[in-house]
């Protein structure tokens, strides 16, 4: 695993020592090389995980998330070039350093064997994200956004620390590979209930669960584009990954404890999808759609069936790429008109036709069109939740319809119709932007040819 971590850390001296006109080229090119090297992880053994060392391992669950993380860094760098043009070189290098540090910490989080290392890296990812949101965001609300982000996550995760230390005392080790086999069944006593809550709340806040999602619209909207991309694509999946890992140790208590959170997810996905229909702020719409998709993932993880785990993993990867692409598209709008209001820039299909193609593709994947992996994930989740309880098909079906509604609303509002006159003179699309969108959608479309990679360890 050092073959990924050390090159990522070395990207930092690369950035600081490059000439000023080469910082973007160097960092983007080298991070792209590192992301290609991540394909080595695909060489998975059938019933076992790839154990690189005592500290790091990778299994079919963490491999697609790792590949997503490493793929995203060059994309983030490409997306940030435009809004940092006017900054002095030191600040550009600082921004890139924050992104690289975040990348290194995320790699260590996804591959950690020892759960305490996972916890430390999980918390450590908060610091660069906080700095990116608060320092480089654009509106005054970013201060509040940073505080909400930090404190919501920390209040959820401090009980997790206590629970992990307690688990180490009772089971003797926090090495995940051992815990899978050593975990004792949890009976439904009060202390076990609190331990279940302590273990899960951190990840439920991170996902986010519907009642605890207040930080997400703030953080996603106020963050600059790279911050939004990494938040939507990877940091939310940290919660899902953590839940998938830790639920293997919380049986059979999960069957009883999961009910309130399942209710919140099922109801929450309808609520947040409906809110999307009434949003005026484009980034806020995409942020709430993230909450809605993640509610599906939470529901899938909580019912703990093989199909639902496969669906959750597939949905995480698919949503990561889709959401990141939608944020890049929203950002391309923002850079031209410096406003996130949707109705200000309408009818863009006439003015920027190729960008409209990317808008169409992103919207189609967002509403889970067959045969994309978004559909694979959603279908598996809907089917497994249906098997858990038949009436949920009403809510799930309603959610799919409302998702289609707001996605098409977003597409039609920005692309179709008569264009507003004041955007007659917007800058045509850059090749960099087209490359960015293409690099998002091509993996998504290619994965629909072989979704086996992203279906996780239970395939």
């Amino acid at each position: 695993m050092l073959k990924f971590i050390i090159p990522t850390i070395m990207l930092m001296p690369l950035t600081w020592l490059s000439k000023n006109n080469l910082i973007w080229i160097n960092s983007t090119a080298h991070s792209l090389l590192i992301s290609f090297s991540s394909l080595l992880l695909l060489n998975q053994l059938n019933d076992n995980s790839l154990n690189y060392s005592l500290i790091f391992f990778s299994d079919p669950l963490s491999t697609p998330l790792l590949m997503l993380t490493m793929w995203l860094l060059p994309l983030m760098l490409m997306a940030s070039q435009s809004h940092l043009i006017k900054e002095p070189p030191v600040r550009k290098k600082l921004y890139i350093t924050m992104l690289i540090m975040l990348q290194a910490l995320l790699i260590m989080t996804f591959t950690a064997t020892e759960l305490i290392l996972f916890y430390i890296m999980f918390e450590a990812t908060l610091i660069p994200t906080l700095i990116i949101i608060t320092r480089w965001g654009n509106q005054t609300e970013r201060l509040n956004a940073g505080l909400y982000f930090l404190f919501y996550t920390l209040i959820g995760s401090l009980p997790l620390l206590v629970a992990l230390v307690y688990l180490q005392n009772t089971t003797g080790s926090l090495n995940f590979l051992l815990l899978q086999h050593w975990a004792k069944p949890l009976s439904a006593s009060w202390s076990n209930i609190f331990m279940w809550l302590a273990c899960m709340m951190a990840f439920l806040v991170k996902m986010p669960l519907y009642g605890l999602h207040l930080w997400l619209p703030k953080a996603h909207v106020e963050a600059p584009i790279a911050g939004s991309m990494v938040l939507a694509a990877v940091l939310l999946k940290l919660g899902g990954y953590g839940m998938l890992r830790i639920t293997s140790m919380l049986n059979p208590l999960t069957e009883h404890m999961a009910y309130p959170f399942l209710m919140l997810s099922l109801w929450g996905m309808i609520m947040t999808s409906s809110i999307c229909l009434r949003q005026t702020d484009l980034k806020s719409l995409i942020a709430y759609s993230s909450v809605s998709h993640m509610a599906l993932v939470i529901a899938a993880i909580l019912i703990q069936t093989p199909w639902s785990y496969m669906g959750a993993t597939a949905l995480m990867i698919a949503h990561g790429l889709t959401s990141s692409m939608l944020f890049c598209l929203a950002n391309s709008n923002y850079e031209r008109i410096h406003s996130r209001t949707m109705i200000l820039a309408r009818g863009l299909q006439v003015l920027l036709p190729l960008m409209a193609t990317w808008w169409l593709l992103a919207s189609l994947t967002n509403l889970a069109l067959p045969p994309t992996i978004n559909l694979v994930g959603e279908l598996l989740v809907v089917m497994s939740v249906f098997s858990w309880s038949n009436p949920t098909i009403l809510l799930m079906g309603a959610n799919i319809v409302i998702t289609a509604l707001y996605t098409l609303y977003m597409l039609i509002m920005t692309q179709r119709g008569k264009h507003t006159h004041h955007i007659n003179n917007i800058i045509p699309s850059f090749t960099r932007e087209h490359a960015l969108m293409a690099l998002h959608i091509i993996p998504l479309l290619l994965l629909s040819l072989n979704p086996k990679i992203i279906l996780g360890p239970l395939y």
Partner: protein
């Protein structure tokens, strides 16, 4: 102040603490405490002002009371055990009295009222000595009598300190008061683990002293004592903004910085003793501390605080103030977490 007098006072200060730490006779420990207090009061009055006088008077009153209570505890211990050796105390009354005396000396709640006001009235360097060096002597005595300390008294005081340290600092803009409340909260963490594993008290003390030293050195660089003046450091010495941010986040206990290490170890030790609610409560209350550190971070490093325009165009002189040991202190207070197994040297 006359340099030779200052040397004598500093020497007496150091000698006093050393006497407390190394003595095995209670009388000499008490003498050490008195020497320490006597020497520190003129140091506090280095730059005479009504504020400094008030601070010195409050310090004298509280510390003298504490020393008297300490002596009372020693005498009761002598009555019941017949010897003056510094070991665990042999009588619960003596133990309670001594714990209260040392709590007054440390500034644990509910005896914390003197700490913010005294810290505010004295110059930054003296405040540094107050919040770091002056904690060594009482904690060394607490370490030695730890087997006999009344558990409930200690835990009540420490939990109360963590709460007071968190809530008290929320409404502050003066940096010295913020550091004082942070000191109260950290003392609370340190004394929580004292009845269970005193080694971790020493670890927490070490990390706390390093972090507080770093913070004060960074403040002394620009002679800042308020949040407003700290927010101007981006114009004077930009690197200090990053360093302040990192150290403040470390004080708040965020991984992967070294301020996380004592909190993690304390939670681990308490969990091993089957106490689970208390560390959760302590950890969440420490977030209050993190809130006002974040506020400082925001005003210093992450945003441009509102200021008049001519404040943004200051001359940038090359610095003449020396900051001794600052790079070492910064590295220790932010990057020590991977060396956690090293704490076995404290055993």
């Amino acid at each position: 102040m006359n340099p030779s007098i200052f040397i004598i006072l500093l020497t007496t200060l150091i000698l006093g603490t050393m006497m407390v730490i190394t003595s095995s006779h209670w009388l000499l420990a008490w003498i050490g405490f008195e020497m320490n207090m006597m020497a520190f009061i003129p140091i506090m009055m280095k730059n005479p002002s009504p504020r400094a006088t008030e601070a010195s008077t409050k310090y004298l009153l509280t510390q003298a009371t504490a020393s008297a209570l300490l002596m009372m505890a020693v005498i009761i211990n002598l009555m019941y055990s017949g010897q003056w050796t510094i070991t665990k105390l042999f009588n619960p009354t003596a133990s309670t009295l001594m714990t209260v005396a040392l709590a007054i000396k440390l500034g644990l709640a509910p005896f914390h009222f003197w700490v913010p006001e005294v810290t505010q009235g004295i110059p930054l360097t003296t405040g540094l000595i107050l919040l770091t060096w002056q904690k060594l002597a009482p904690l060394s005595i607490l370490y030695q009598i730890s087997p006999s300390i009344n558990l409930y008294l200690m835990l009540t005081m420490s939990l109360l300190s963590i709460l007071v340290g968190g809530w008290g600092g929320l409404n502050q803009t003066q940096l010295r008061k913020i550091m004082a409340y942070s000191s109260i909260a950290h003392m609370g963490w340190m004394t929580t683990i004292l009845p269970y594993n005193p080694t971790l008290t020493l670890l927490n003390l070490l990390i706390y002293i390093t972090m507080t030293f770093t913070m004060f050195m960074l403040f002394i660089q620009n002679s800042t004592t308020t949040t407003l003046s700290l927010s101007q450091t981006w114009n004077k010495t930009p690197i200090i903004t990053t360093l302040t941010m990192l150290t403040l986040l470390s004080m708040g206990g965020l991984p992967p910085l070294s301020g996380f290490m004592p909190k993690w170890m304390i939670i681990q030790e308490l969990t091993k003793n089957d106490i689970l609610i208390m560390p959760t409560f302590m950890a969440i209350t420490a977030l209050l501390n993190l809130y006002f550190y974040m506020r400082l971070t925001y005003s210093t490093a992450l945003t441009l605080f509102p200021s008049t325009n001519n404040m943004k165009m200051k001359w940038q002189f090359s610095p003449t103030k020396r900051a001794p040991l600052l790079p070492t202190a910064i590295v220790i207070s932010t990057m020590l977490l991977p060396l956690t197994p090293m704490l076995s040297i404290l055993l």
